[in-house]
């Protein structure tokens, strides 16, 4: 058996190391290490609750708006404020912009360049894929960067800047949209849609949304030359390299529900397992510290009572990451979970037939782009200039609140306790905390650790490229994971 340490694992957000045990040409066991600790939960202790809106987004530069949204939701819960419709529309638009931009960044900059690695130089498709997706040098990045930057003008308009805005408040948005600004939003979305339809999909967004089965998807791929669009290129690679057999999901998927309005989220909340959606009770969330470099004198705790005290010498510790569980179960989160819970037919069919995999995770993200942009068009249409975007309620001196939202990478929760007008406890459980969790007290590995088991090494390979695909298929955000 060979022991292999892969790190620094780049083209993920933040710092990651993966330890592999390899035997007979495949991964037998995996240990995932988050190597950076900063201590945001300690920084927040004793601050004014309002200051969470300055600190929380700065946990992460790529999920910045998601962290703001979760913080604002926790504060809103504590205050009992009711957000006006305009406020919901504006903040959901900013969150959707970040999520879609993150999916795009992941696909073009983080994930696809692995297929341009020399490991694949003998494949028939290599030359074209390398030209298009080679890290830094490929033509795809140069197409994507200007389109993404222009799309981010939505955040300039609605949130002042990205990342690290303070426009997202418990009662809505600090920025009221005027009629001419609404017109500009329509233009920006139109331009972005055009990029998606010409370059990413090579099809209208509606064509993509209407795919209902794996057969539909395969049939759609056959309709044109495989390299006609970037999505088609990925589907070709998935077929050639059996990406549907790579990085199998443990089987339980969780979503807190995405894009909340006063009557609930647009993408449903729940747990998907064994073909069924079950209701989610956030009381069932707990964090186990048994394999983290944290003081772990007590059993797993609910985040309201969570404790984070670093101990670099903790027995059995191999990461700064805690092990979150829902009713003791490992959960996978992300676009795949959101779409399964929400009942998207294509993703349901793919997971039913082949399980969660590198293939399904990537298709889920791109499908989600196609689903969200038309929603954003509707939300812009519903904005009402001249009406309120922001309601205000005072923060009680004693209160608690929880903010459960969906970041690009999945379920993000903030749990807040206020005493004497100050933050007594602030605990954050981020998407990649779920996906890249270490083992728990029962020795059950986290979602990625399970997904890596059985990864195949190609002949003569020292650093297995399959491991690169599997790890990046989760689109990890390590700075959120340990904060």
């Amino acid at each position: 058996m060979t022991r292999l340490i892969v790190g620094p694992f780049n083209r993920v957000e933040g710092d990651l190391e993966v330890r592999l045990e390899i035997a007979d040409g495949q991964v037998n066991d995996a240990f995932v290490t988050s190597t950076l600790y900063r201590g945001f939960e300690h920084i927040l202790h004793g601050k004014s609750p309002q200051d969470a809106l300055v600190f929380a987004p700065r946990i992460c530069g790529i999920c910045s708006v998601s962290q703001s949204t979760a913080a604002a939701a926790a504060l809103a819960d504590a205050q009992g404020v009711r957000v006006p419709l305009n406020g919901r529309l504006a903040t959901n638009l900013v969150l959707a912009t970040e999520n879609v931009a993150d999916h795009l960044t992941h696909f073009y900059m983080f994930f696809m360049p692995d297929f341009a690695r020399p490991a694949y130089r003998n494949e028939s498709w290599f030359e074209q894929i390398e030209k298009r997706f080679k890290a830094i040098k490929g033509t795809a990045t140069r197409d994507m960067l200007p389109a993404r930057a222009e799309f981010m003008h939505i955040t300039g308009l609605l949130a002042g800047k990205w990342p690290h805005t303070m426009s997202i408040q418990p009662g809505g948005s600090t920025k009221s949209v005027a009629a001419h600004e609404k017109a500009r939003l329509i233009a920006l979305l139109g331009s972005f849609r055009s990029f998606l339809e010409r370059i990413l999909f090579g099809a209208t967004l509606e064509e993509i949304i209407e795919l209902e089965t794996l057969d539909d998807l395969n049939g759609w791929l056959e309709k044109e030359a495989p390299l006609q669009s970037d999505f088609r290129s990925f589907l070709l690679l998935a077929r050639e390299l059996d990406l549907d057999a790579m990085g199998k999901s443990p089987g339980h998927f969780m979503s807190y529900g995405a894009y909340t309005f006063n009557d609930g989220p647009v993408f449903a909340q729940g747990v998907f397992a064994k073909g069924q959606v079950l209701p989610l009770d956030p009381q069932g969330v707990s964090e186990d510290l048994s394999h983290a470099w944290l003081e772990h004198r007590s059993a797993a705790r609910h985040p309201f009572d969570g404790i984070t005290i670093p101990d670099a010498d903790a027995a059995d510790g191999y990461t700064w990451c805690k092990a979150p569980r829902l009713n003791g179960q490992v959960m996978e989160v992300g676009a795949i979970a959101r779409q399964l819970v929400d009942g998207n037919l294509l993703i349901r069919d793919m997971v039913t037939r082949k399980g969660g995999s590198v293939h399904t995770r990537v298709v889920s993200r791109l499908l989600e782009i196609a689903r969200i942009v038309p929603l954003m068009e509707q939300w812009v249409g519903a904005l009402r200039p001249g009406e309120s975007f922001h309601a205000r309620e005072p923060m009680p001196d004693e209160a608690q609140g929880v903010g459960l939202i969906e970041a690009a990478r999945g379920a993000l929760g903030h749990w807040l306790k206020v005493r004497n007008g100050r933050i007594l406890n602030y605990q954050i459980v981020a998407p990649t905390t779920w996906n890249f969790s270490p083992r728990d007290a029962d020795g059950v590995p986290g979602a990625l650790e399970q997904a890596l088991k059985g990864a195949q090494c190609r002949e003569g390979e020292v650093d297995p490229v399959s491991v690169q695909h599997i790890v990046r298929s989760f689109d990890p955000c390590m700075v959120c994971t340990v904060h």
Partner: protein
């Protein structure tokens, strides 16, 4: 006349590392436009040896690049650090071990800095410690050559890169993409010197400006017509903690993400380009006052004059501004009678 502005230079090797931060400065850089940042780097001959979010090399491939630099086989012209230097716990640096090496990142940074032509701190964390150093600074975060406002940090105040230039601090939380692109291109041109930096190590091209310049709320400021709550249109200085008149930066003359700035987004400047901004000593969106007068006065303004001018301008505030300052939308439009403006 013959004009020859070009200078024959070899490609400049750039290595970008991240430590105790959020990665937001890279994400902001990716929003660079007209042209995108890769095109700008190419035009200036900046060759990216490795960047954590961009490069193909992972694990072993990166370690080969790192060793080649440390052994002197690959010249390192520009070392960029994003995120603070993590010294904790107890000076060991174990809160951030460089993956795959078993070494604390702070040790690797020290070795690399000794080899670098220029050392650039990208963002307020790398420059001064920043948000990561807030509260009781749980990870013992510090900057490359400053520990918040004190000279020192990882490398010490006497540090000079191979070029003889101290650490260049492109502060901001996050940086504006234009600040990084322009500073790196200035450095790559070979003409950047210590004379181009202010007392906090910041490029003067940026820090000679104030966030206040070009503020879209200037008329409210002039008449001290102040917003009382976030989302209202008035000046944010008197009540809502805005530090635009004191903070360095060109945020309102060089828009963010197309058209934005913190203030145009409806919330105050928190002076994120200034060392120590993370601990203002008050709630960020509240202005601390003594006898009704804000403690933080506009840059270079004597207090007596500020008080005198403020009370004078308040007495002259037009009704339009008084009303609009506390509204979410313009309620009273300027009184534009035909022929009223003079030619």
């Amino acid at each position: 006349m013959q004009v020859n502005g070009s200078r024959k230079t070899s490609p400049k090797n750039l290595l970008w590392l991240q430590s105790g931060g959020c990665g937001g400065c890279t994400l902001s850089l990716i929003c660079a436009e007209a042209p995108d940042f890769l095109t700008s780097f190419e035009a200036a001959g900046i060759n990216i040896l490795w960047h954590p979010s961009l490069s193909e090399e992972s694990g072993r491939g990166f370690l080969e690049i790192l060793n080649s630099i440390l052994e002197g086989n690959t010249p390192l012209d520009i070392l960029c650090l994003e995120g603070s230097v993590i010294m904790g716990p107890k000076g060991t640096g174990r809160f951030h071990m460089l993956s795959g090496t078993g070494l604390p990142m702070m040790m690797v940074l020290k070795k690399l800095a000794a080899r670098a032509g220029h050392v650039v701190a990208v963002g307020s964390c790398a420059a001064y410690g920043g948000v990561t150093a807030a509260g009781r600074n749980p990870a013992d975060a510090t900057g490359l050559a400053f520990d918040t406002k004190e000279p020192g940090g990882l490398l010490g105040s006497d540090f000079r890169a191979r070029s003889g230039v101290p650490v260049v601090n492109i502060s901001g939380c996050p940086i504006h993409p234009g600040w990084v692109v322009e500073t790196l291109l200035h450095i790559a041109s070979g003409y950047f010197s210590e004379l181009d930096m202010d007392r906090w190590g910041r490029p003067k091209a940026i820090s000679d400006n104030l966030v206040h310049h070009g503020c879209s709320r200037n008329e409210y400021y002039e008449y001290k017509a102040s917003a009382e709550n976030l989302s209202e249109l008035g000046c944010l200085m008197e009540n809502l903690g805005c530090k635009g008149t004191q903070a360095s930066g060109d945020c309102n003359t060089r828009p963010w993400n197309g058209s934005g700035s913190c203030i145009s987004g409806g919330y105050p400047c928190i002076a994120c380009t200034e060392p120590g901004f993370e601990e203002p000593g008050h709630t960020f969106v509240e202005t601390p006052k003594v006898t009704g007068i804000p403690i933080g006065l506009p840059m270079d303004m004597p207090k007596a004059w500020f008080v005198a001018l403020a009370s004078l301008s308040k007495s002259a505030t037009p009704k339009r501004l008084k009303v609009n300052a506390v509204s979410d939308f313009i309620r009273v439009a300027p009184n534009q009678r035909a022929g009223k403006t003079k030619k």
